[in-house]
């Protein structure tokens, strides 16, 4: 309990620091952000001054930061001039697509990486182990954007199994309940829409999942190899427990802790990776919104989305720390 409290307290300076870094990024914009955002549009000096005030640019730097942090903590990021709506609304619209993609990729990565890692670790030195290890090494060396294009080239362009882009077919969108298409289409009782959404989701999710699966596999394998050497496993085997029971009860439980903490870190990589994957597959999520907004010089959206990504990552790491303690009580002692 005390440990939990310590972890939460430790998060506060990190969160504040994160806000500071995002704030500093804005300061790195060359030139006058207002002029850049207005671009070629004509604006009266009054409008420019109003915009400047709106963005808090007329204040001293320290005050600007305090006001930025205060507003960020309240979810106020100003308006997106491009969309003519509050920034947070624009992001909220795109969020379900990103959540669906990230969840699907995480489930896939866990489902591929951990079992393969267990298998490779248990069969250390066998052909299975070597094949899995080589695959994992290639997996961590693959540039994600290239993997996405290769999959697209093979499965969409050549074989026509999957669509090239988008989230679902035209007119296939089910009534929005959770805004996650897979769930909504099932709730609406429309299996055809479900499969259409699944077909669209498949390639982006696989692209995002494979590198993470590779990392998870390596970590799980290393953990299993370590655990198998431990005395308590030898003891369990000496007691005459079946191999299956030893593996399921003793090995798996102890090997999962490092896998979980790495999984949380890897979700950070997923969050960055989805900017690229969403761009490749024209997936209408927050990652693509960030890239579009950069080119549209829509800085308030970039700022808010980057902060959102970073905060989610910090919180996930905090959560992983706590989970690690639950799975592995020794370190909390």
């Amino acid at each position: 309990m005390i440990r939990l409290l310590q972890r939460v307290l430790h998060l506060i300076p990190v969160l504040l620091g994160t806000i500071l870094v995002v704030f500093a990024m804005t300061a790195a914009t060359p030139g006058d952000p207002v002029q850049i955002m207005l671009g070629d549009q004509r604006a009266t000096p009054e409008q420019i001054a109003a915009l400047r005030h709106d963005m808090g640019l007329d204040l001293p730097l320290a005050e600007r930061f305090v006001s930025f942090a205060w507003r960020a903590l309240h979810g106020e990021f100003g308006r997106s001039f491009f969309h003519r709506r509050p920034v947070l609304d624009v992001i909220a619209d795109r969020l379900p697509a990103t959540i669906e993609l990230t969840l699907a990729a995480t489930v896939l990565a866990l489902g591929i990486g951990i079992p393969l890692g267990l298998l490779a670790g248990v069969r250390r030195g066998h052909v299975t182990d070597r094949a899995a290890s080589i695959t994992a090494l290639v997996g961590v060396s693959l540039p994600g954007f290239w993997l996405g294009l290769l999959l697209m080239l093979l499965f969409s362009v050549t074989l026509h199994w999957f669509p090239v882009s988008g989230r679902t077919g035209y007119g296939d969108e089910p009534a929005a309940v959770t805004h996650l298409l897979l769930i909504d289409s099932l709730l609406a009782g429309r299996p055809a829409a479900f499969f259409e959404a699944l077909r669209h989701l498949a390639l982006p999710a696989i692209t995002l999942a494979l590198p993470m699966a590779a990392v998870l596999m390596r970590v799980t394998r290393a953990a299993v190899v370590d655990v198998l050497r431990a005395d308590y496993v030898l003891f369990a085997e000496a007691k005459g427990l079946s191999r299956r029971r030893v593996l399921l009860v003793h090995v798996m439980k102890n090997a999962l802790a490092p896998a979980v903490s790495v999984a949380a870190l890897e979700i950070g990589a997923l969050l960055g990776g989805n900017m690229i994957v969403e761009t490749i597959f024209a997936w209408p999520g927050v990652g693509r919104l960030v890239v579009e907004s950069i080119f549209a010089r829509n800085y308030p959206v970039v700022q808010a989305a980057v902060l959102l990504y970073a905060l989610v990552f910090v919180l996930l790491n905090g959560l992983a720390d706590v989970l690690y303690g639950v799975l592995n009580p020794r370190i909390s002692a």
């Binding site: 620091g17 870094v21 060359p30 290639v138 060396s141 950069i294 080119f295 980057v306």
Partner: protein
């Protein structure tokens, strides 16, 4: 004690080198990386054509092994009729240059700060470690894309962005190793004879923590190369006429159906170099880390 046993005088570094050289995979991968580095260095001499020389008559010219391929353009041409091979050769300059440069600069910064933080402890350590925590709290690509998006594309901005994120890795390694080293007898002895702090750090601690820092630096180079190519792929990296592998893959996106080689070949180049660096650094870690040879 008899003094008759004469041990051959072999330094741990020489032993490590011997182990490294005897591993065929490591050797082969090192050769690939060196070859890529030489290609980058001598690009203007090696490249058969000017990488920016466009000619729409050669548009989507296929590689030599396909029908209509010619030896003049062995890897084919892109959508503007530019020679893929020459562009790959020039692209190696950006990928390896940024990879090497960023890792070199951030390793120096991170090692100096990490050694000072680990040796001095106190306020300096707390402040630097907090900064490191915050930077680690950012997903790598989110940080890089965000900052590049604000600063604008360009080679200089890429290096600055990646160094700002990357020094933390060397910092953590150097700090951790220094924390262990400062409790050792040789540091205690140096302190006892009145050695000034900077000489203990530079003369005693640094040589002893250098090998883990170097091993980590080689692994990180692979990572930095992927990051640079990802930024260039998104259009946030180096700008034309400079060529980068990530940018070449992006160029090929619209020609997936008619010219698969345009996006595929530069990605393959990234994969080969990154894989070779990963395997070589794995070999180096196994060869030079004394803890693995108990």
């Amino acid at each position: 004690m008899s003094a008759s046993i004469a041990l051959p005088e072999v330094s741990p570094a020489a032993l490590g080198l011997r182990r490294f050289v005897s591993d065929r995979t490591s050797l082969c991968c090192t050769a690939i990386v060196l070859l890529a580095a030489l290609t980058a260095l001598f690009a203007p001499v090696i490249a058969p054509h000017d990488p920016s020389d466009a000619d729409l008559l050669r548009r989507l010219q296929p590689p030599v092994w396909q029908a209509d391929g010619t030896w003049d353009y062995p890897l084919g041409c892109d959508g503007l009729g530019r020679d893929i091979l020459s562009r790959l050769i020039f692209g190696a300059r950006v990928s390896l240059g940024v990879g090497f440069g960023v890792v070199l600069v951030s390793s120096v910064i991170g090692t100096v700060l990490g050694t000072v933080a680990g040796f001095a402890r106190g306020v300096i350590d707390t402040v630097l470690s907090r900064i490191a925590d915050v930077l680690l709290g950012f997903p790598y690509l989110v940080f890089a894309i965000g900052l590049m998006g604000m600063m604008g594309p360009g080679l200089g901005n890429i290096v600055v962005t990646l160094v700002l994120k990357e020094w933390v890795v060397a910092f953590r390694v150097a700090r951790g190793e220094t924390l262990g080293a400062r409790e050792q007898d040789y540091v205690e002895a140096a302190r006892a004879v009145g050695c000034p702090a900077w000489r203990i750090m530079g003369g005693e601690i640094l040589p002893n923590i250098l090998s883990p820092v170097l091993v980590v630096a080689t692994i990180r180079m692979a990572h930095v190369i992927i990051m640079e190519s990802s930024l260039s792929f998104l259009g946030l990296g180096v700008q034309p006429p400079s060529v980068s592998w990530g940018g070449m893959v992006a160029d090929g996106r619209e020609f997936l159906a008619d010219g698969w080689w345009i996006a595929t070949l530069p990605g393959l180049a990234i994969l080969i170099v990154v894989l070779a660096i990963n395997l070589a650094s794995q070999g180096a870690r196994e060869a030079f880390d004394p803890r693995l040879h108990r």
